[in-house]
Amino acid sequence: MKKARAREGIRTTGIPSKEELEASPGYPKSDCLARGPIVVIECVQDIPCNPCEGACPSGAIKVGNPITNLPVFDVEKCDGCGTCIPICPGQAIFRVDMTYQTDEATVSFPYEFLPLPKKGDVVQGIDRAGGAVCEAEVLRVQQPKGFDHTAVITVIVPKNMAMEVRSIKRAKR
């Protein structure tokens, strides 16, 4: 089993493995997801970086010193505002709301491609490996000036895809 783990993971595939995610203090435990919209931080490497800490108005993210520490996420303090999402230079922060509907959840993610989709568009939801895994309806596209050209898109996906979908298929230019 150890060999398999050495083969896949962030350093060999560019995709964090399930084990790497679950080991990261920024990744919420699955029982937390039932609370409502919360942030999911998929930061698994010790890069010197901490803007997420300063961005959160509720103090739900702590990096501390040294700044290579992985961000520690306090789900009690998170109200799902998503201010941290466009700030992360690694685009590694997402928001998931499992309480959206009985069978549907929403996923919010940073997006820096053109053309941006519009509310109501039905697009392909893609997973961390770039594979299309389900249909996704665009619920909201936020691109205020303060986000500095990082849009935050929220899509509606089947609940069981909420921890898989992390972006949408780019439209042809």
């Binding site: 962030i10 060999t12 560019g14 010197p48 970086c49 685009q91 053109l114 050209h149 230019r173």
Partner: protein, 363 residues
Amino acid sequence: MKNTDMVVVGGGAAGMAASIEAACAGAEVVLIDENERPGGQLFKQIHKFFGSEVHRAGIRGIHIGRDLLKEAEEAGVQVRLNTVVYGFFPDKCLGLMCNQHTEELQAKMIILATGASENVLAFPGWTLPGVMGAGAAQTLINIHRVLPGRSVLMVGAGNVGLIVSYQLLQAGAEVVAVVEGLPTISGYGVHASKIRRAGVPIFTGHTILRAEGKESVERVVIAAVDKSWQPLAGTEKAFEVDTVCLAVGLSPLAELAWMAGCQFIYIPEIGGWVPVHDENMETSVPGIYVAGDLAGIEEASTAMEEGRLAGLAAAEALGCLSSKDGRARKAEVWERLAALRIGSFGHGRALAMEKILRAKGVG
């Protein structure tokens, strides 16, 4: 011959930061850059930077560049653009050339911040039009708003390869694959994740065998490699592309430091031959300082801090800063630099810097 307190050669991140610190301390500073505007690599870095607030984390490179430029102008730095420093002559005399006119400029202190140039990889077909450095592609798309091609193979999964792949996607090109000879991705995982989400496969343990095409690149063939970098038979894969970007490392542009007689040390992890310097960024030649990629390939954030350090140290040497103030200000920079050289990505660079400091002590 004209004289000045300080000349900074190279107006990129390190050079601008150095000029600002020195000018704010009261030195007469001339900043020279061969391009028609300063900023070096900063204006190509359209992504948000890492680090902490003091390192301008979360801000895009272009904004940092604009801010530095404004600061330099406000500090009274004399900026000479379209000017090449073509020679380093005795007694800290620099040969300048601008608009087909040459002149000499002598300075008490010189800070070299000339950056680095891209390495190349030779393979059959590497001279076909369509093969270029990743940095060159980045300049084309981010500065000149021109696509180098429609479909790209990126060679190298360091930060440059990953970031430029992402930016090529943003610009509307297709990146069919990234190949990396090492078994792991050396760049930040988050940069890799962004392009994996966008559907770009990353082939670790692979290299490019050849590029094919009549008048330009039409196709590439890649293959897996063994531990000795030999291609493994039967693992060839072909891709139809019109562009091959090489992101296989950078080497310091150290000609002026060589001419000045600076001592060098060879450290492959940070680009090969780098000028030996102390914790003040001063080389083995008194009065000559280095900063940025010239002093060892790292990042924009370390380049800016090294620039500030060199600027402060040179200003102190000129007498513009008391040694008490100088030490205090430098201590702040050393702390900020140290914060960037930790963790699995920074540790190797920290060791390299230690090697350099030890060499300076001996030499």
